[in-house]
């Protein structure tokens, strides 16, 4: 685990292995590990050491059913024996859970797993292969002590896992440690008390690993680095920030060295602070901010689900025939058959099994309900900003309030400068939308074509997920940036036109709102191309606009 203290790069591989060691010492107290890594030899090598965790291990996948997870009616056994047989779920059988594709876990499963984790009887390894914004749900991450990222570790830097010697027992922690760690957490903007408890438990486990009866400074160092550093949401305000980046951080000592020098039990906060800071990757804060926003937007409640699961509300099952498409509701079928069993057995005494007749078959039915999505596409260019961006924002806010009342999803696209961005993917969180909108700056050119294109893409994606999208385009119509980012009015207008045509061809509903100071002819033409109603933004009457939109979109 020794390495040259050249850069601020901590020993990632060593830490990753250490985290696993600590977890195997206190699986319940540390909850588990959130491992962010693509599948590959590095991850495989790390996973090879997993067998130090209590057996058996159970692999879960994001679409696992409750029956598998918690146990349920075992139908074949129930039918064979005639008595209700319940199968035990994975949760009851395996103390170690491995969640694959963790970034795809649905809110429902996250909630159920979180409840399981709160019993402190399991440890969970969440394998997150997400790229970019995709990541493990925060509720789940909060219950796992270690957040590891194996990305960027070359295979050559890895070592195969040492056979773990079994360590048992527990260690005490010094009295002032709680105080110290709590202060640290507060300085790094960590609110969740679980993080602090995990740090203390990790320090204890580390002490056990080194055969100590009481955790010392070195243990707390390592624990804080492993648990607190990846959760940091802010850097503590200190005067010597500049000095810190130039010098190698003081945390580079290995545990053994530290143990040698750590004979006095005073815990210098400064040192600990530096240690955590050193373990924070330099770009973490930026990444974190982006990820956090995207995540909370994505966890948009039970509304945003994929097509496969988006079956709407189940209706009572209905009698019918199996036509190859309908799904049999087995339990309902058995219920329908149940009352007739004595009679049928009487008629057919040779067959003592459950007798199901075609008339008993019950089919599953769902009521499809498609939610509406409003894609607000806002022109934030300089010309628009000069004109009436603020007013347009006010109008969108009014529309948002209405969207809330109808429980619509909303998404926000803004275009300015040389391109368009999705500021907010489809969500039901209006507070989020409003914040993003308020923070939207104005300035730059008007890449209208890109705006329409990005909005169309978003709308089509949403459509494939079973939503009914409508684009609400707010612009002054003075396109001056072409699709390729070059300036020029003629090309820009032409590109905008073709983008509008493509949107129309894709069958997207749209509404164009002119937010210029004077109604723009070109924009009216564009609206016609898109097959969209054209509404000039009425002066200082956002309420009227909202009425117009409601009228136009129905």
């Amino acid at each position: 685990m020794t390495h040259a203290p050249v850069g601020p790069d901590p020993d990632l591989w060593g830490n990753a292995q250490l985290a696993l060691h600590l977890l195997s010492i206190d699986p319940a107290g540390l909850g588990g590990i959130w491992l962010r890594a693509r599948s590959g030899p590095v991850r495989d090598r790390w996973m090879a050491a997993l067998d130090t965790l209590p057996a058996p291990h159970a692999k879960l996948h994001p679409t696992i059913s409750d029956d598998q997870l918690f146990g349920g009616l075992d139908l074949s056994a129930t039918l064979a024996t005639g008595a209700q047989v319940r199968s035990t779920g994975l949760i009851d059988r395996a103390p170690t859970l491995i969640l694959t594709m963790a970034e795809r876990t649905e809110p429902g499963l996250v909630a159920r797993l979180s409840q399981v984790m709160d019993r402190h009887e399991h440890s969970l390894i969440a394998l997150d292969e997400g790229t970019g914004d995709e990541a493990l749900a925060p509720a789940m991450a909060a219950r796992l002590a270690f957040h590891l990222d194996l990305e960027g570790i070359p295979f050559g830097a890895t070592t195969s896992a040492k056979p773990a010697d079994t360590h048992t027992g527990s260690a005490a922690i010094p009295a002032q440690a709680i105080d110290l760690i709590t202060r640290m957490a507060a300085q790094f903007g960590i609110d969740d008390p679980r993080a602090i408890l995990f740090t203390l438990n990790a320090a204890r486990a580390h002490a056990v690993l080194h055969g100590r009866r009481e955790a010392d400074e070195a243990d707390l160092h390592i624990a804080a680095q492993l648990v607190l550093a990846p959760r940091a949401t802010q850097l503590p305000a200190t005067e010597d920030d500049a000095q810190d980046t130039s010098e190698p951080p003081p945390s580079e000592d290995t545990p053994s060295e530290n143990a040698a020098q750590g004979d006095d039990m005073r815990l210098p906060d400064e040192l600990l602070l530096e240690a955590i800071k050193a373990a924070i990757p330099p770009d973490l804060l930026a990444r974190l901010a982006a990820r956090k926003a995207a995540r909370s937007a994505k966890g948009a409640g039970s509304g945003a689900k994929r097509t496969g699961n988006r079956r709407g509300r189940p209706l009572p099952p209905r009698a019918g025939r199996m036509d190859g498409r309908a799904r049999l509701d087995l339990v309902a079928t058995l219920r329908a058959a149940a009352p007739w069993q004595p009679m049928r057995r009487h008629l057919n005494p040779t067959d003592q099994r459950v007798q199901v007749r075609p008339s008993d078959l019950r089919l599953k039915r769902y009521q499809e309900q498609s939610d509406r999505l409003l894609v607000f596409t806002v022109d934030a260019s300089g010309s628009a900003a000069l004109a009436r961006l603020a007013e347009a924002k006010g109008a969108v806010e009014l529309l948002l309030a209405e969207a809330y009342a109808r429980r619509d999803h909303v998404a926000l696209v803004a275009f300015r400068g040389d391109g368009a961005d999705v500021l907010l993917p489809p969500t039901r969180s209006l507070v989020q939308t409003k914040r993003r909108l308020a923070a939207l700056p104005g300035g730059g050119g008007t890449p209208l074509a890109s705006g329409i294109e990005v909005a169309s893409q978003l709308a089509l994606q949403a459509k494939s997920k079973g939503l009914t999208p409508s684009i609400v385009l707010l612009t002054d119509g003075r396109a001056n940036i072409a699709r390729d980012g070059s300036a020029g009015r003629a090309q820009a207008a032409q590109d905008a036109n073709s983008a509008a045509m493509a949107a129309f061809a894709a069958g997207l509903d749209a509404l164009v709102i002119d937010m210029g100071t004077r109604p723009e002819r070109a924009l009216r033409t564009l609206a016609e191309v898109m097959g969209a109603p054209y509404v000039p933004l009425p002066r200082a009457d956002a309420a009227k606009l909202s009425k117009a939109v409601t009228g136009a979109l129905g």
């Binding site: 107290g29 409750d66 009616l73 129930t78 005639g82 008595a83 209700q84 809110p107 429902g108 909630a111 159920r112 979180s114 409840q115 709160d118 019993r119 402190h120 925060p138 509720a139 909060a142 527990s170 709680i178 105080d179 760690i181 709590t182 202060r183 957490a185 507060a186 609110d191 969740d192 008390p193 679980r194 602090i196 408890l197 203390l200 909370s296 966890g299 948009a300 409640g301 039970s302 509304g303 509300r313 189940p314 009572p316 339990v331 058995l334 219920r335 329908a336 149940a338 009352p339 007739w340 069993q341 004595p342 459950v354 948002l400 309030a401 809330y404 969180s429 209006l430 507070v431 409003k434």
Partner: protein, 335 residues
């Protein structure tokens, strides 16, 4: 199931704790909704409350925890027995629960083996006279919410399915918790909760240290910790019982009633449920404090919890409804 963290050992979060105690004094207040960040002790408080509640007298084996033999529903075969002391039921409604599990359904075992049409009681039956707890209530599937709405209102579960026609009492205190960032709650369900509480992480460092110290002690040395706090829990339990006795004696002066109404009109809350909850909660608080007369100070104290979720919501108001209620309370009921 391991013993839950003691209710009395929860540091701070007074509004949440008070709201839960008040529903224990008067279950007709109609439940508590706790919304807040992760790791603020929402679930801890609910589970702790279960251990704190005074026991009820119930017929052993009765699916709806009836107090008298005469109340046992006729569809249940319960051997004749005298009521015994049982802990107040606190039933967890997991997010993935099916409709069958929630309302009850045909007992498949009896149907298959004996061809009998028997009813297997669901979670709603088991929660009768107790608490029904839904963690992450804002993520609950819509069709389960629909079921709950009706039952929470009428206090009766009516099952009309698979040839069964059964009704049984289902009067429970609905406790929900969730994180608003992960999804909104339907306004209809929101309205069914009597009280609503927002919790946040403590900002003060000493409070945080205290939280961690207690939690750590609980995890390390459970027995000693439980023994230490059992006394405190018992004290609260006795106080709840005393308040229950006092509750029918609490008088409601006309002018205070008037102020209830004024407050609700000023807030523009929908329907009359706001006034009723305000009144009931106020009386429960008076009883909790040992007062025999409802006074303005009681209203002031509980108005935010009772009314915050009943405002016509302005989803874009970031100040939060609590602040709005507080402001209006200051106006209508000056100190």
């Amino acid at each position: 199931m391991t013993a839950p963290f003691p209710f009395s050992a929860i540091v701070g979060q007074d509004e949440m704790k008070r709201a839960m105690i008040l529903t224990a004094i008067d279950p007709t207040i109609g439940g508590v909704l706790v919304f807040g960040d992760r790791g603020t002790g929402k679930s801890t408080a609910v589970r702790g409350l279960a251990a704190l509640l005074p026991p009820i007298m119930a017929i052993p084996g009765c699916p709806v925890n009836s107090a008298r033999m005469a109340d046992v529903p006729d569809w249940a075969t319960v051997p004749k027995a005298a009521p015994t002391e049982t802990p107040t039921p606190v039933i967890d409604l997991p997010l993935g629960a099916t409709e069958d599990r929630v309302v009850g359904a045909l007992d498949i075992e009896k149907a298959l083996t004996r061809g009998e049409k028997a009813f297997e009681a669901g979670l709603l039956a088991r929660a009768n006279r107790g608490y029904l707890y839904i963690d992450e209530v804002n993520l609950l599937e819509d069709h389960i919410v629909d079921l709950l709405l009706d039952v929470a209102q009428s206090g009766e579960n009516v099952v009309e399915r698979e040839g069964l026609s059964i009704r049984h009492p289902a009067r429970f205190v609905l406790v929900g918790s969730g994180n608003p960032e992960e999804g909104e709650l339907r306004p209809q369900l929101l309205d069914r909760f009597g009280l609503s509480v927002d919790v946040a992480s403590p900002t003060d460092i000493d409070t945080r240290i205290e939280v961690i110290t207690r939690r750590d002690a609980f995890e390390r040395n459970r027995k000693t910790f439980m023994a230490t706090w059992a006394k405190e829990d018992a004290k609260i339990r006795d106080q709840i019982l005393a308040a229950r006795d006092l509750l029918p004696k609490v008088k409601t002066p006309k002018d205070v009633l008037r102020r209830c109404a004024e407050l609700c009109i000023a807030l523009g809350s929908d329907g009359l449920r706001g006034e009723l909850t305000l009144l009931k909660t106020g009386r429960a608080l008076a009883a909790w404090r040992g007062d025999t007369k409802l006074a303005d100070r009681h209203l002031r104290e509980i108005a935010p919890s009772a009314l915050r979720h009943r405002l016509r919501r302005d989803p874009l108001d970031e100040a939060g409804s609590g602040t709005r209620v507080q402001r209006l309370v200051e106006e209508v009921i000056p100190a």
